[in-house]
């Protein structure tokens, strides 16, 4: 420890490699990313490493970010669309510390956005990378437990089974009621799980200008959508794909085209609908949009800015 601190007297002590992972690991992950980008939707295996958070907290996404991040990047991290949730703040602090990057809450400004369960409302641009945290990369897993079999099904494009889950939805609810992790076809070739984003976000994946990377740490798989990839959500001819809609608009910014969270306010059942994308909502409020509950404490500026 002493030698390290004397050899680097002018920098903060860092007892780990840049961006936490060692260089060989990052090379291995980058090779998997390149393979995944070359075959949109294909689940490329990679040697997932032990990370300083438990599986299910974004180990796949963190490893992807670590492999592609550089000191010039501007990093944003969201959890369910919000920049200020515990997990997002922790992961953002982690990369600020281990990768010396600037962090932001501004979707437009960020070069790497790590996300759990949302795609930001603001359209992404060329040059941006959206990193998804994926709990279960295999969309067929719920119906077919054997990995050997699902791999063969992907290899031979045998995707009839996925429709069984849609069939069950329609027979039970009279419509395709699945709302999150709604399966898609990438370039009409590979069946892909979009991670548990709401199906509201599925259309945003189609022909997106940014690079979309998906990392599953526990399952040791990386898959990707390069820019401008065609992405189609599965459906039946007589039950076409639809996204969620709300009768309400955002209580804070009056947005009627954003994904809304229902927030319970008290034990009496009072509730409000607010944008799940916290940055989108804040920008709209700054631009003068006023919702019916504007001024509610949820809308007050943070006393402590996110790090």
């Amino acid at each position: 420890m002493t030698t390290l601190s004397t050899s680097r007297p002018n920098t903060a002590e860092r007892y780990y490699n840049y961006a936490y992972l060692d260089e060989q690991t990052k090379r291995m992950i980058r090779r998997a990313i390149l393979k995944a980008l070359a075959i949109p939707g294909y689940q490329a295996p990679f040697g997932s490493r032990e990370m300083p958070v438990p599986y299910g907290w974004g180990t796949g996404g963190i490893q992807l970010t670590a492999a592609i991040i550089g000191p010039d990047d501007v990093y944003k991290c969201i959890d369910q669309g919000a920049d200020d949730t515990t997990n997002a703040v922790s992961i953002r602090q982690f990369f600020a510390k281990v990768a010396d990057v600037a962090t932001t809450e501004d979707t437009g400004e960020a070069t790497i956005i790590q996300t759990r369960h949302r795609i930001p409302e603001q359209p992404l641009k060329a040059g941006q990378v959206l990193v998804f945290q994926v709990p279960q990369p295999e969309p067929l897993r719920g119906l077919e437990a054997r990995e050997t079999e699902t791999r063969a099904m992907h290899a031979y494009e045998e995707y009839g089974l996925q429709y069984v889950s849609l069939y069950e939805n329609v027979s039970t609810y009279g419509r395709i009621a699945a709302t999150a992790g709604y399966p898609v076809m990438a370039e009409e070739r590979y069946l892909m799980s979009p991670s548990p984003i709401p199906k509201f976000d599925n259309p945003k994946m189609d022909a997106n200008e940014a690079i979309l990377l998906f990392g599953a740490g526990r399952e040791k798989r990386i898959y990707a959508l390069p820019p401008h990839t065609r992405v189609r959500s599965l459906d039946f001819e007589d039950f076409p794909f639809e996204v969620q809609t709300w009768e309400e608009s955002c209580a804070l910014c009056a947005a009627d085209d954003a994904y809304l969270d229902e927030v319970i306010l008290d034990d009496a059942g009072a509730k409000m609908f607010v944008c799940s994308d916290s940055h989108h909502c804040a920008e709209r409020r700054a631009a003068g949009h006023v919702g019916p509950m504007a001024g509610h404490q949820l809308a007050r500026p943070e006393t402590e800015p996110a790090q």
Binding site: L143, G160, L161, Y163, V164, Y167, S171, F236, E237
Partner: protein
Amino acid sequence: MNAHSEIQAAPLLKVEGMTKWYGHIVGCRDVSFKMRSGEVLGIVGESGSGKTTLLNCLSGKLEPSSGAIQFDTRRFGLTDIYALSEPDRRRMQREDWGFVHQNPRDGLRMRASGGANVAEPLMNLGQRHYGKMRRATIEWLDRVELDTRRIDDKPRHFSGGMQQRIQVARNLIHGPKLVFMDEPTGGLDVSVQARLLDLLRELVRDLDLAVIIVTHDMAVARLMADRLLVMRRGEVVETGLTDQVLDDPQHPYTQLLVSSVLQI
């Protein structure tokens, strides 16, 4: 009379010198036969005689050590099934074949509803219209004499005989040319067994279906099969028309088998 031994018309299935070794143990040895469409072939024999090995080889699940199995596929004509590429073979199995397992849990998706189980082969063949699939499913549930109101119940909520009916519907809905049945009435009590056999016989005749049925139950063989292969220690010891084999068995083992049937 050797009319049964040679079939002049183009065969549906042609097996020549098929042998399967498990290491140095023989699974089945030098099996040859032909089958035409609409024919029901019974494979009988005691436990360990190689019935299941033969069925697995024929149904593309287990590659034989030597010999050829040719099938008249819709897509490629008469072709050696193990010479097809794996995706082509899997596709052929989905399109042209059905497989009814002894235990319905092996042949059904227990997490999906009965209706979804029956409709799945249609989805596998590219059907993407829910309403059409639903209608076909209801029609088939009706055909196998199940209550169509129970279409959305899970298989575990059905009795064993009903599960087997779901499995039968699932394996016939896509219009296969050949259906394999491995002891389809194995785990059922006799009255349910009789009703299911009755139903199977009716469907097979109506659909002019070719069936290979494996059984150790001579009564099932008598009711279902047009022709029999009698197996012992991996070899076919006697073949012939069912009534001929059961009424006038030639091979000592067949004689033993027939005389062992319990009478009430």
